[in-house]
């Protein structure tokens, strides 16, 4: 059993990590051609991301879109989660369900919906269009994490502070916010990472005006390889790992992932 288990775990880890290791090897290659086993060692393909104007501006576009749309998603989600939890408003619960839907549908459906909508209102191709589209698409994440955070607020704490004369604003600021904030941050971080990596909605809203990194990589794939893509893959994986480590550090990862009640 132990041998069987070890073998299975080793194969599983190899399957998951193998492609990443090959890409990492390719990204440190010093030649223009992709080679494995790699020949020579260099950081030139990492430098290229920041030196080559087009790669760097795509990276900046992606980071900007991820930051703004994640912020927007949290701002939209906050009142809904709060209204549903604090006052048990049925309307807020309905909005909650509606806000989850875009994330559950196959992304190409939402992408097409945005494309049709934005062309008819004349926003197609504008930066604003992708910012809102990503915020709506990823709204489910802060909705879920903020609700989880609010559920962990002890009702007796609220009652105690009210007995001591705190009004609603003070209760929110001094009791609810400190407990819920890490979960709101987790929602923000999830949105940030997924927006950064998102392709199809960005393509169908700003695909021909603003080049995000995933769009640029897909376009580059058609014209042949460049090791820069490998270094971007490694960079993105590191960004993802960093963000999720931050969530694990400052928020409750196993709770968010549903391991704890």
């Amino acid at each position: 059993m132990t041998i069987l288990r070890r073998t299975y775990l080793a194969i599983f880890a190899l399957y998951l990590l193998g492609p990443v290791l090959v890409i990492a090897a390719v990204s440190f290659n010093s030649k223009k051609f992709l080679a494995f086993p790699p020949r020579g060692f260099s950081f030139r393909w990492y430098a290229e991301i920041f030196v080559a104007n087009d790669w760097f501006s795509s990276l900046m576009n992606s980071l900007f879109i991820a930051f703004v749309s994640a912020t927007l998603a949290v701002l939209i989600a906050m009142p809904i989660a709060y209204g549903a939890w604090r006052y048990g408003l049925r309307y807020a619960k309905a909005l909650f369900a509606l806000g989850i839907a875009p994330f559950i549908l196959p992304p190409v459906i939402m992408a097409l919906a945005f494309l049709i909508f934005y062309t008819s209102v004349g926003l197609y191709g504008s930066m604003l269009s992708v910012l809102i589209a990503h915020a709506i698409f990823l709204l489910a994440l802060p909705l879920v994490t903020i609700s989880l955070g609010l559920e962990s607020v002890d009702q007796s704490l609220i009652e105690a502070s009210q007995t001591l004369g705190a009004n609603n604003t003070t209760v929110f600021r001094t009791v609810i916010l400190p407990i819920a904030a890490p979960f709101a941050f987790a929602g923000f971080a999830f949105c940030f990472v997924l927006s950064l990596n998102e392709y199809i909605i960005a393509l169908m809203t700003v695909g021909f005006t603003v080049e995000t990194l995933p769009i640029k990589i897909f376009n580059a794939l058609r014209y042949g390889y460049t090791p820069v893509i490998a270094s971007i893959a490694v960079l993105f994986l590191l960004i993802n790992i960093t963000v999720f480590s931050l969530i694990a550090r400052f928020s409750n990862l196993s709770r968010i992932l549903g391991a704890l009640d």
């Binding site: 990589i217 893959a233 990862l253």
Partner: protein, 280 residues
Amino acid sequence: MTKPPLTRYLGLIPSSVMIGVFFAIPFAMILLTSVSTPTDDGDYRFAFDLQHFDRFLTWFYVERALFSAGLCALIAVISLLVAFPFTYFLTRFGPRSQTIWLIYILAQLSLSEVLIAFSWQILLSRTSGVGNILEWVGIVEKSFSMAPSAGAVVAALVYLAVPFAVLLLFPALSRLDKSLIEASRTLGASPMRSFFTVVIPVARPAIVSSGVTIFVLTLGAIIVPQVLGRPEHWTLSVLITDQAIFNFNMPFASALAVVLLVLSASVILLVSRFAGGNRS
């Protein structure tokens, strides 16, 4: 409470506007566009014209829909088989290594499909991939390219789906009542036997719902079938993108999107009914 109830709704206005304008309206527009009729100037206007669905009902598109459903079902089954034992072991790891694995799984799950398709393209290429390693080790005489092929599409789609499978199974498996397993062990069951007779039956609802979720998720894959497959491996999602972006045929793209929507919804309903009615 000092505030009157109506003011509680005021805070919800901005969020309502955002969801209404940027989700409900665009979504309704897809439905309307799918039954629109073309005008003389090459545009389209809203009507109740089913011609785009008629076009879908030609064998080419029906075959594509069946292929997509079959492929995604296959991916769901394989990724559950691959991920289930791992997730079970993961719940038994120490908290530290559990967190590290979860962070990595989340990071891989979030990695752009574009980058995953690229990685597999490299991995399966003649000059820098597995073939090269096999040649280097001496297993094959000459390195060869393994993509585009059906196998490449399946391998990469399973790679996309496995992290989701792990995270979907994780809650149920980590809440699994450990005393059940201990009881079966005390009664003399081998670890293998208690895994198959206790763990899997108890986790069955989670397995079914994870399978459905992975099926729907895989239906959304767009880049892997294009980059690692031939046109005969293209799924509905690829065809929708193709119609919308390269043919500018919004009505037909919308009709295909409605088909995709109905396909996802009916699988969800069917499986949840089947799984619900079979509880023992």
